[in-house]
Amino acid sequence: MIEVIDLHKRYRGRKVLNGVSFTAEKGQITCLIGINGAGKSTILKAIMGLTPVKSGLIRIDDAPVGPTMYEKVAFVPDHLTTPTGMKLSEGIQFMKDFYVNWNDARANELLKFFKLDRTERVGNLSKGTAAKYSLLLGLSQNTDYILMDEPFSGIDMFSREVIAEVFSTDLIEDRGVLLTTHEIDDMEHLIDQAVLLQNGSVQLAFDCEEMRTTEGKSVIDVMREVYTG
């Protein structure tokens, strides 16, 4: 599992992370929920070693973060990270060259599933298509965990449906998924655990089905209570 323990971070004088702690289990889909600027992206970047934190501990399967962890954890950022001049196939080749855990068969499957043209240049993709490609690059790695930053935001409805389908398939099964979003919308029934962030710390973390069973509340109900109560 991914353990985040008491993260603190300042950015431009503001306390972005003020003691964030939570865990994301393997085989479960955990969703970090919070308004824009709540620090969700920062948490994911911190886990991936893309930004330093002032204090706190991050452990992945009981080991601290390091370069070998990149074969275990994949990250799907909310924007393009492949040079715009590269073709889709070249981007895939890049990943294949550097990652032992690259699953080329799956990459080809996903190219078909997302209906992507491998000869197209990355810079020419629409926002929805670029999101699918980023997802492809993350999912085609045989990692135990996959982190996704706002996989649905700013994307047209149909692309969103296609992307959501991925969550129901065996591409996700057995992996630990940690994603962030500011609008849970029609995605509620897909996630196992919800972690509500506010003011740089975790206000509430719960199992969604349990919440429905014991209190008859949807995630949105809980969100309303926590954020406006």
Binding site: L50, T51, P52, P67, H79, T81, F94, F98, G123
Partner: protein
């Protein structure tokens, strides 16, 4: 080792159009200006015109070094251009991964290899560009000499050595020094310069608001450290306290310490402080 080579290959691949353009421009400007200069002198000579009549120098015998000098700035321009581009690129090679529509730095930082490999691969790429341009210039000089012999009839020219041609112009002389020792000094200093620039860039990228100050400060401190032994004698109020031999050794030591510290600092920044 494998990943390092792949990264170097990628960096070279990304820059190839600019590199070839620089080579192309150098070829065109140098050969073009050479041809133009030579042809007008040769035709003036053939017509028996005097200097006063045509307004440019007409020596009795033409030599290749003379030709280089008389193309004036056109010969040297592409060299200066290339140097400027390469110096700028030692900064841009980092920033291009942060800015633009896609932030490639995410991918680079998440590669399953130690981060200092990124630093070293970029450094290797820059050095490769520099040395390939130099090699190109060398080959070009040989080719230009042949061009010279083609345009100027045997009766009008005198032979010259390669070294005479390469040292006739101060810029060319610095680029292709006669002595190996000088080569080590010039290019050693250049490499130190690139290393300091790299670390300065990483400082800026690690400390967003104050970063730019740290970066500039760092460059200034390193430059001062390297210049210090050289200007020490001038600063001494009393007659020289240091022997020249000692100053030389101090300078050498500083020239080893500065890049080593810069590299270590750069590696540490990449590992611990860098932020996207």
């Amino acid at each position: 080792m494998n990943r390092y080579l792949k990264l170097v290959n990628m960096e070279i691949h990304r820059f190839r159009y600019i590199l070839f353009s620089l080579m192309g421009i150098t070829l065109l400007l140098q050969c073009g200006s050479l041809i133009w200069t030579l042809q007008r002198v040769v035709s003036a000579k053939e017509k028996g015109l005097t200097q006063a009549e045509v307004g440019f120098a007409i020596p009795k015998f033409l030599s290749f070094p003379w030709a280089i000098v008389n193309t004036k700035e056109w010969f040297i321009l592409p060299i200066l251009l290339s140097i400027t581009v390469l110096v700028l690129y030692s900064i841009i090679i980092w920033y291009r991964d942060w800015f633009g529509r896609s932030t490639f730095i995410y991918r680079l930082l998440m590669l399953p290899s130690a981060r200092w490999v990124l630093y070293v691969s970029k450094l290797t790429a820059i050095l490769t560009f520099v040395f390939s341009m130099i090699a190109f210039q060398l080959v070009l000089l040989v080719g230009e000499n042949m061009l010279f012999k083609t345009i100027v009839p045997a009766g009008m020219r005198t032979d010259s050595t390669f070294v005479e041609a390469s040292t006739i112009n101060p810029v060319l002389n610095t680029l292709l020094p006669k002595q190996f020792e000088q080569f080590i000094y010039s290019y050693g200093l250049g490499i130190i310069g690139v290393i300091v620039i790299f670390t300065a860039v990483l400082l800026e990228r690690s400390y967003r608001r104050l970063g730019i100050l740290y970066a500039i400060g760092y460059v200034v401190v390193c430059a001062a450290a390297i210049l210090l032994p050289a200007i020490l004698p001038a600063l001494e109020s009393s007659s020289s306290y240091w022997y020249p031999g000692e100053i030389y050794r101090i300078e050498l030591a500083i020239c080893l310490i500065v890049p080593v510290i810069s590299c270590c600092l750069g590696f540490w920044l990449l590992r611990k402080k860098i932020t996207v």
